[in-house]
């Protein structure tokens, strides 16, 4: 009898979660385990630090342009099946409460979601050659982010360019992301 009492107290104290399988999956979907498929995402705007004179006056503040240029440092996320670069970015900015504005696929001529601004930094916010670009594993795909399907271990980097990509190792042609 006392044994049962002790058991109950232990359970109460430890506050074990009692969930159905579905509920567990839903709330732990982003837990990274040894066999999880993952991707990393980072968002940086370093190039602006070298072009502060071109930056729109209302954005000259650390909350828009962090001192180290890092808006989101490299973070790992579980890769869900079918995730595109857009899906992962959307998750990352929502989870971290980072401002992001995008144009949906349906309203875009290239049929892909188009990132207008992240952290209030928009296309042309730092001169007429500025805007967001994205790299996967160090290369610029140069086409829409909702068309790029990710694989396990992919590294996604969103970088802000102030020179049509030339200051971030991108080609002249990759203007839209």
């Amino acid at each position: 009898m006392i044994g049962f009492a002790v058991l109950f107290i232990v359970i109460a104290v430890s506050r074990i979660e009692i969930l159905s399988v579905d509920e567990y999956y839903l709330t732990h979907i982003d837990d990274i385990k040894k066999d999880s498929q993952v991707v990393t995402v980072s968002i940086r705007c370093d190039t602006i630090l070298n072009n502060m004179d071109k930056l729109a006056p209302e954005l000259r503040d650390e909350k828009y342009v962090p001192r180290d240029g890092i808006i989101l440092e490299e973070t790992q996320y579980v890769l869900r099946p079918g995730d595109t670069v857009f899906d992962v970015l959307n998750r990352a900015v929502r989870y971290n409460k980072i401002h992001m504005e995008y144009q949906g696929e349906r309203d875009n001529v290239y049929g892909s979601a188009y990132i207008r601004g992240i952290n209030h930094l928009y296309e042309y916010s730092c001169g007429h050659l500025s805007g967001w670009m994205y790299k996967v594993n160090g290369k610029y795909p140069g086409y829409g982010i909702s068309k790029y399907k990710l694989k396990d271990r992919d590294k996604v980097e969103f970088v802000y360019t102030c020179d049509l990509g030339r200051d971030v190792g991108g080609s002249f042609y990759s203007e839209r992301n």
């Binding site: 109950f8 001529v109 892909s112 916010s125 042609y173």
Partner: protein, 635 residues
């Protein structure tokens, strides 16, 4: 010898490998009916793509994206053709779109003035007035021309996004010969030299200040075309060499034309960003038409036998649409070399429309004023002819030149850009050492304050748009098919029908329809507001997940309840729905854990109490036993 043969053979093989799907343009002098047919087939193609083959070009899909690049240019083309279509619905939808976007901080866009420009042109093309459309947060009507051009500087410089902001700003200003007020931050006098200053060494224009691009060069010409005949000399600092330059618009445009001429490919088309493509070629055609340059005869733009039109037709597909490029473009993976492409087709559509207007003597593509009187058209056409005649005659006597010049001065200043041969007259005047007293054109362009864009039915299909519209039984069936509580998906349909019934001659035959449609419109707008509000609250409440606790339960449950009260198609517009469910699950399980925890503690306490009670009871029961035994023993 053998080596040379091998070299030649392998070179040829290499060519074949690189260009296996190259198409070669065949020269044709396309006739006016053929151009019309081509235009009609593009429209038929687009309708079939929208699965609306028998209906309108301005389909529900296009209406749903009113105010974006996806829709506006097709609407623009439809307007410039004057075809019968749901243009009224577009105006209504774009008005809603503008009003909604004006609520946000950047209004139409944080940085791009061209959002205002494109929408203004689309609105004009379907007979609307961009100086009064939509409502801002101060409950005043919006003036796209003011906000997007001459007062744009109050928010951001017009050139913030580069050359495009200036080019399209000028095109919008001249679209109706708009007046700029005294306190305008940008006027023709400031914008024109800013554009001129961006000309590169080779005469071309670019996006990045270095690499000449045919599209940008063509668009710069389109913007400057109304000033080609102006004798005004502008002073500016050239951006490519930082030197002070003095030039007229004509001089700059002539250099740009030379550049474009040299860039034209053997098939008549143009290459941009390393790839021959339809769009660049289309922009050049529009530029030529703006200057009255005949693409079929002007040698500068004919390579071999191939004209710019041949260049465009090279990209035409049997289904009537146009492809972007024959090379697979990694940067534009939705543009396949063997599939008609939306952007290419849309530019082909309006470029050929520009050409058609040029052929039949209508105003140029970006001139939305009512057509000239027949007399004025005749006068100008005759003047153009006579100037050419004189130029070719080799006998340029002073009195003839003077009389031609006198006729030129009688053309209203804001129409002088249509005297296409003026450049030859100007040359004869200066060669003859005569004085050219013509007024500067820019100063005379400030004429219009407001008004609707003119719509002309180019193909004589009998448009009259909605003026004498009759609401049909088919329309009525359409109306009946809208459910009592429509979701937001029905919005375009409601707008279309409302436009029809509002302008129908026979509205009395369908009593109650208009009121009902208006009520439905209001209710759908309310749903949309609810959706927007929910999306906002989701962003504010849910993240980060780690911080969510039982205290947020009420907020989250409220959100879930509101989402579930929406219809399925509206629920799809909720962003992060999955996250909401997750948050709710998380909170509920936390709550459940807490409740179970409490229950367990309570049970534990009860159990302990019971156990203690039993122990005590047992102790009490046992004592008498011992006493009994003692009694027995002692006795």
């Amino acid at each position: 010898m053998g080596r040379l043969v091998v070299k030649i053979v392998s070179f040829v093989c290499l060519l074949l490998i690189i260009n296996p799907v190259a198409a070669f343009a065949e020269h044709r002098d396309y006739s006016q009916p053929e151009i019309q047919q081509t235009i009609e087939k593009i429209i038929a193609w687009k309708k079939s793509v929208n699965k609306n083959a028998k209906g309108n070009l301005i389909s529900n899909e296009i209406l749903g994206s009113a105010g974006t690049e996806v829709s506006d240019w097709y609407v623009f083309a439809a307007g410039r053709l004057g075809i019968q279509d749901d243009t009224r619905a577009y105006l209504e939808m774009v008005k809603q779109n503008i009003t909604k976007r004006y609520k946000s901080e950047g209004k139409l866009d944080q940085t791009k003035a061209t959002e205002w420009h494109r929408i203004a042109l689309a609105v004009l093309s379907v007979g609307g007035d961009p100086t009064q459309i939509g409502t801002n947060s101060d409950r005043q009507t919006i003036n796209l021309v003011a906000d997007g051009v001459y007062y744009r500087g109050r928010t951001k410089p017009l050139s913030e996004q580069g050359l495009n902001g200036l080019i399209w700003g000028l095109i919008v200003l001249d679209s109706m010969r708009y007046k700029t007020p005294a306190d305008a931050l940008d006027t023709r006098e400031t914008i024109i030299p800013e554009i001129l200053a961006q000309q590169l060494k080779d005469g071309g224009f670019s996006l990045d200040g270095e690499q000449t691009d045919p599209d940008m060069t063509a668009m710069a010409i389109q913007a400057l075309a109304p000033y080609y005949n102006s004798e005004q000399i502008y002073t500016y600092v050239s951006s490519w060499n930082n030197k002070e330059t003095r030039a007229s618009v004509r001089q700059v445009v002539d250099q740009a034309l030379k550049c474009l001429s040299s860039l034209q490919r053997p098939d008549g088309d143009y290459s941009s960003w390393g790839m021959e493509n339809a769009e660049s070629t289309c922009q050049v055609l529009v530029a030529l038409c703006a200057l009255g340059i005949d693409p079929l005869t002007d040698q500068r733009f004919i390579k071999g036998e191939n004209t710019v039109i041949d260049g465009i037709m090279k990209y035409r597909r049997p289904d009537g649409g146009f492809i972007h490029s024959f090379t697979y473009d990694e940067e534009n993976i939705s543009a396949k070399p063997d599939q008609s492409n939306s952007m290419a087709s849309e530019q082909a559509l309006y470029a050929l429309t520009a050409y058609y207007r040029y052929l039949v003597g209508y105003r140029s593509l970006y001139d939305f004023r009512p057509e000239m009187t027949t007399e004025l058209k005749k006068e100008i056409a005759q003047l153009n002819q006579d100037i050419i005649k004189l130029k070719n005659s080799g006998n340029q006597n002073t009195s003839t030149i003077k009389s031609l010049f006198a006729r030129y001065l009688e053309v209203p200043i804001e129409e002088r850009c249509y005297v296409y041969s003026y450049q030859h007259l100007a040359k004869m005047i200066s060669d003859g050492n005569l004085s050219n007293t013509s007024e500067y054109l820019a100063a005379a362009m400030s004429i219009t304050e407001k008004g609707n864009g003119a719509v002309t039915d180019l193909f004589n299909t009998g448009s009259g748009i909605y003026e004498d519209y009759l609401f049909t039984d088919r329309d009525y069936q359409d109306y009946k098919s809208i459910p009592d509580h429509p979701s937001t998906a029905y919005y375009p349909q409601i707008i279309v029908l409302l436009g029809k019934i509002s302008n129908a001659q026979n509205a009395e035959d369908y009593p109650g329809v208009k009121e009902d449609l208006e009520a439905k419109k209001t209710s759908v707008e309310a749903i949309q507001e609810k959706i927007d509000d929910l999306n906002k609250r989701i962003m504010e409440t849910l993240y980060p997940f780690e911080k969510l606790g039982i205290a947020d339960k009420k907020k989250v449950d409220q959100i879930v309840e509101e989402i579930q009260s929406l219809q399925k198609s509206d629920q799809l517009k909720i962003m992060g729905y999955e996250d909401v469910i997750r948050a709710k699950t998380q909170i509920d399980s936390q709550l459940r854990a807490l409740v179970i925890g409490i229950l367990v503690i309570v049970m534990a306490i009860v159990l302990i109490a019971v156990v203690v009670y039993r122990i005590k009871k047992k102790r009490k029961e046992r004592l008498p036993d011992y006493e009994d035994d003692e009694d027995l023993l002692c006795n």
